[in-house]
């Protein structure tokens, strides 16, 4: 029976689809996990492009699961059909088997076919943008750009991925041409995209190996944009699906990327473009006159257009501050320089006008190396003697001023770090020499500069060049470099020669030079300290002087005043004395005893009683003072 055979084949195909989906899904999942380990968890791969290959692989897993479920449902549906057929035969059409409630597989299969595409498209869009968002986030927060541990090994791994992806992808796409395996197509398409990304990763790893680490950055940007486009396409597909005329029999699943299909499906890009248009608009757009016309004449139009573009290479403009040299077949036509304006020559590659600016100022640097090992140009903002400020410091030998006459061969030398920026511009009359007689004139000028500087500094004294001789040295150097360049017929005008960083070698000798400045400060400090001592001590002495004199003066005043007063008193007392000498004396004596000895303890003894002995105890105090009181005994001490 024909239908039985078809059904049988359906079941087999569905089972095969399930198997293929599982193989494809597991393979993709394994690769996705490997990518995650190699470039997400560790940074072994060190390549953004490689890391981004996780996206197509993840989507491949998603679509593999989708097609696996499709296969399972389709198998059970086909099984169900077979059962129905058998049932139909046995029951001989008594009841409509299609209404039998036991048979649900067919319906769920139909539902799956109807709704899952929308879900898958939406889910794929979510996955895409989530992963892209994560990439964006990590790229903006990370501080160091990862580099591969071993670029060649990374490239090797990427090549293996490439092989797996292209073979499996091509196989799935090929297989999907069969109607029953239609759902394998997105799996194949995304695997092919994974192949392309792996190819990028291989290329970027190889480029890294050969010293172009930027390639990875550019490729990862391209990849990012491509993924973003594909992500938007999911959304657009989701929407446009509603507006598509339902005329073509076999619908294309919504989740299938048409952009990818352009490249991954057989038949060539142009054919696929036309097919995609036909599919979207519902009629044969590719058979309209516009399309036919384009197909017929496009080729010629492109040719004419290319020729026009080519002819544009005949026109050259010499800019306002430039001069031009006309060349045809590589030969200079005339040594007369072209003034600013428009000129016509033979088209590329036969003729050209080489243009140079004779007003622009170029510069070369003699002395220190400014490019560090990462190829970055150093621009130190602070230049001190004691800290290394360039990648390599220049060291010029400088003669020392003291040449010992006794030891004649022992010429003593010193080192001087110098940087000598030379600014120059092309001399108009020497342009041909500059551009056509010298390869890399800037390098030649730099060497000439070094030669002149070496010679010049070998004959100057170090202290002079560091101080007063600096200006003169710059002028001399300019003159000598110009002369040497003219001897070489270099065709340049030296505009300016600067003399920068004239200092002893950093880190070693420069601290000693700075210490000299320090010692000058120390000297000044000592002197200022002494001066402050002077300023303090002299006024103090003046004050002492005033004090001594004042004391003397007050002594003089006191002694004279007292003497005067005493003299006057004596005069008065003498008068009283003269009046009655004995009484005066007695009176004054008794007066003294009464007044001045009133508080004095007195013992009065008779001197005329010879046999009497007095015992006086002076240990006993006459009176108790408060300070004599014994605090402990005060309470029970009877007062005497």
């Amino acid at each position: 029976m024909e239908t039985d055979k078809v059904l049988r084949e359906n079941i087999d195909n569905s089972k095969l689809l399930v198997k293929l989906s599982i193989i494809g899904g597991i393979g993709s999942a394994v690769m996705a996990i490997l990518v995650l380990i190699l470039s997400g968890i560790s940074s072994w791969a060190g390549s953004d492009v490689f890391a981004m290959s996780i996206l197509p692989l993840t989507l491949a897993v998603v679509f593999a699961i989708g097609s696996m479920i499709y296969g399972l449902l389709s198998a059970s549906s086909a099984q169900e059909d077979e059962d129905k057929r058998l049932l139909e035969k046995r029951k001989e059409n008594i009841i409509n088997v299609n209404e039998d409630v036991r048979f649900t597989a067919g319906r769920s299969f139909e539902n799956y076919k109807k709704y899952t595409p929308y879900f898958l498209a939406a889910f794929a869009a979510v996955v895409t943008f989530t992963l892209l968002g994560l990439f964006w986030y990590y790229r903006s927060v990370r501080t160091v750009v990862p580099i591969p541990e071993n670029a060649l090994k990374s490239a090797f791994v990427a090549v293996i991925f490439m092989c797996i992806c292209i073979f499996s992808g091509a196989f799935f796409v090929g297989q999907s041409r069969d109607k029953d395996f239609r759902w394998l197509r997105p799996l194949g398409a995304w695997l092919i995209l994974a192949f392309v990304i792996s190819l990028f990763a291989t290329f970027s790893a190889l480029m890294f190996r050969f010293g172009y680490p930027q390639v990875d950055v550019y490729l990862s940007r391209i990849t990012f944009v491509v993924f973003a486009l594909l992500g938007f396409e999911f959304i657009i597909n989701f929407i446009t699906e509603f507006y598509r005329p339902r005329t073509i029999e076999e619908p294309r699943p919504v989740f299938e990327s048409r952009l990818l299909a352009l490249f991954t499906e057989p038949g060539g890009v142009a054919r696929n473009v036309a097919d995609a248009l036909d599919y979207q608009f519902g009629f044969k757009v590719s058979k309209t006159w516009v399309s036919e016309f384009a197909e017929k004449y496009l080729f010629r139009l492109v040719i004419v257009w290319l020729i026009c573009l080519w002819m544009f290479t005949c026109i050259f403009e010499v800019g306002p501050s430039q001069v031009g040299v006309r060349e045809s077949f590589g030969r200079i036509v005339s040594e007369e320089l072209l003034t600013p304006g428009i000129y016509f020559t033979l088209p590329y590659p036969f003729g050209k006008v080489a243009r140079y600016s004779c007003t622009e100022i170029h510069d070369v640097l003699v002395g220190p190396g400014m490019i560090d090992e990462n190829g970055k140009k150093l621009r130190p903002e602070v230049v001190t003697w004691t800290e290394k400020h360039y990648v390599t410091e220049s060291e010029f030998l400088v003669a020392s001023e003291k040449v010992d006459k006794a030891l004649k061969p022992a010429t003593s030398v010193s080192f001087l770090g110098i940087s000598l920026p030379i600014q120059y511009r092309i001399r108009e009359s020497g342009l041909i020499n500059y551009a056509y007689k010298h390869k890399d004139a800037a390098k030649i000028l730099q060497n000439i500069g070094e030669m002149v500087a070496t010679k010049y500094f070998a004959s100057v004294s170090i202290m002079e060049i560091m101080s007063s001789g600096r200006q003169k040295a710059a002028e001399d150097l300019k003159k000598q470099i110009q002369q040497a360049a003219d001897n070489q017929e270099l065709g340049v005008d030296i505009v300016y020669v600067n003399l920068h960083d004239v200092h002893p070698p950093t880190e070693k000798v420069a601290p000693a030079f700075e210490a000299v400045i320090g010692s000058i400060e120390e000297k000044e400090t000592e002197i200022l300290k002494a001066k402050s001592y002077y300023e303090r001590i002299i006024p103090q002495a003046q004050a002492d002087k005033m004090q001594i004199e004042a004391q003397a003066k007050s002594y003089r005043y006191q002694i004279t005043t007292v003497a005067q007063a005493e003299g006057e008193r004596f005069n008065k007392q003498l008068q009283a004395y003269d009046a009655m000498p004995e009484i005066f004396k007695l009176r004054t004596y008794l007066d003294m005893l009464e007044k001045d000895c009133a508080d004095t303890r007195k013992y009065i003894m008779s001197s005329s009683i010879p046999n009497e002995i007095y015992e006086l105890n002076f240990e006993q105090k006459a009176r108790f003072d408060l300070i004599d009181a014994d605090v402990n005994t005060l309470s029970d001490q009877p007062r005497k």
Binding site: V413, S414, K439, M451, S519, A530, F570
Partner: protein, 316 residues
């Protein structure tokens, strides 16, 4: 009919044919011509044999490969600093070790000779480097160190050395089609061990200067301190002297007033003693007095002595 058909066929296909012709022409041009820029010179070989006349700038006819082969060389002056051992330690006549580096500016003067002997630029540079090394070392070895470095520019021979190296290099390079336009000494340095010593000496030189400054500072400070002390001493001594004079003056003035004591020295003495006693007995003195002294003599009055002592008491 067939002619017409042919005709339409031709008209229909003329663009394709034209395109074919153009592509063919371009191919022919590419295969049968070669271009030499103004900055280049070229050697043409026919079946491996070098053509006598080297080609100048412009477009030239050629037989396609493998009949003729074109080897282009840059014939501009270019600068070469050397590669292996471009900075090399060498010795001067007086046995001083130096590190010297030179550059040369050269061009390919005779492309044919150059091609025959050197074939490629990198071969030529290796060869040039060898010559540069040997000639440089040899030339520097015939000059003394102070002819390289000297404060007196007239004693320096760097120019002579450069010219000598250039001349010798040219002698060697001439047969190889290379012309050396000029040579320059771009680096003269001393070996690292020596440069360490030089650094050491430079540091010591600076230390001497620094010590000088410090000592001068100390000296000046000391001078100022001594001056300050001296001035202070002078001021104080003056003050003392003045004070002494003032005191003496006071004493003299006082003496004048004491002259009145002369009128009655006995009384003056008495009064002075009294004053003194008054001061002495101001505090906590115990006075042991004899009853003979006034006024306690009054206490001795008894019956038998009352009479004779009465007049005394009265008197007193």
């Amino acid at each position: 009919m067939t002619a017409e058909a042919n005709n339409t066929k031709i008209t229909r296909h003329w663009p394709t044919m034209l395109l074919g012709l153009i592509v063919g022409a371009i191919f022919m041009i590419a295969v049968f011509s070669f271009k030499i820029n103004s900055t280049e010179t070229a050697v043409v070989t026919t079946f491996g044999k070098i053509e006598e006349q080297p080609a100048g700038p412009g477009l030239h006819f050629r037989w396609p490969y493998p009949v003729q082969e074109i080897f282009k060389f840059d014939n501009r002056y270019c600068c070469f600093n050397g590669n292996v051992g471009k900075l090399e330690e060498t010795m001067t006549k007086d046995g001083q070790n130096i590190i010297a580096g030179i550059y040369i500016i050269y061009r390919i003067a005779d492309a044919k000779e150059f091609f025959r002997s050197m074939v490629t630029m990198s071969n030529a540079e290796d060869q040039l480097n060898n010559w540069m090394r040997s000639i440089k070392d040899e030339t520097f070895g015939r000059y003394e160190f102070n002819q390289l470095i000297n404060t007196d520019p007239n004693k320096m021979c760097l120019d002579t050395i450069q010219n000598e190296i250039c001349r010798k290099l040219n002698e060697k390079a001439k047969t190889y089609g290379i012309y050396i336009q000029s040579t320059g000494i771009k680096t003269i340095n001393v070996p690292k061990s020596v440069s360490e010593k030089v650094f050491e000496r430079m540091i010591q030189e600076r230390n001497v200067v620094a010590s000088g400054f410090r000592a001068a500072g100390e000296k000046e400070a000391k001078e100022i301190k001594i001056k300050a002390d001296t001035e202070r001493q002078v001021v104080l001594t003056d003050a003392e002297a003045a004070a002494k004079e003032i005191r003496a003056q006071g004493d003299a003035d006082a003496a004048k007033y004491y002259a009145v004591f002369k009128k009655n020295p006995e009384l003056a003495t008495f009064l002075r003693k009294l004053d003194s006693l008054r001061k002495i007995m101001k505090s906590r003195t115990t006075l042991v007095l004899d009853t003979d002294s006034a006024p306690f003599d009054l206490m001795k009055m008894n019956a038998d002595k009352l009479k004779p002592s009465a007049p005394v008491t009265e008197k007193k």
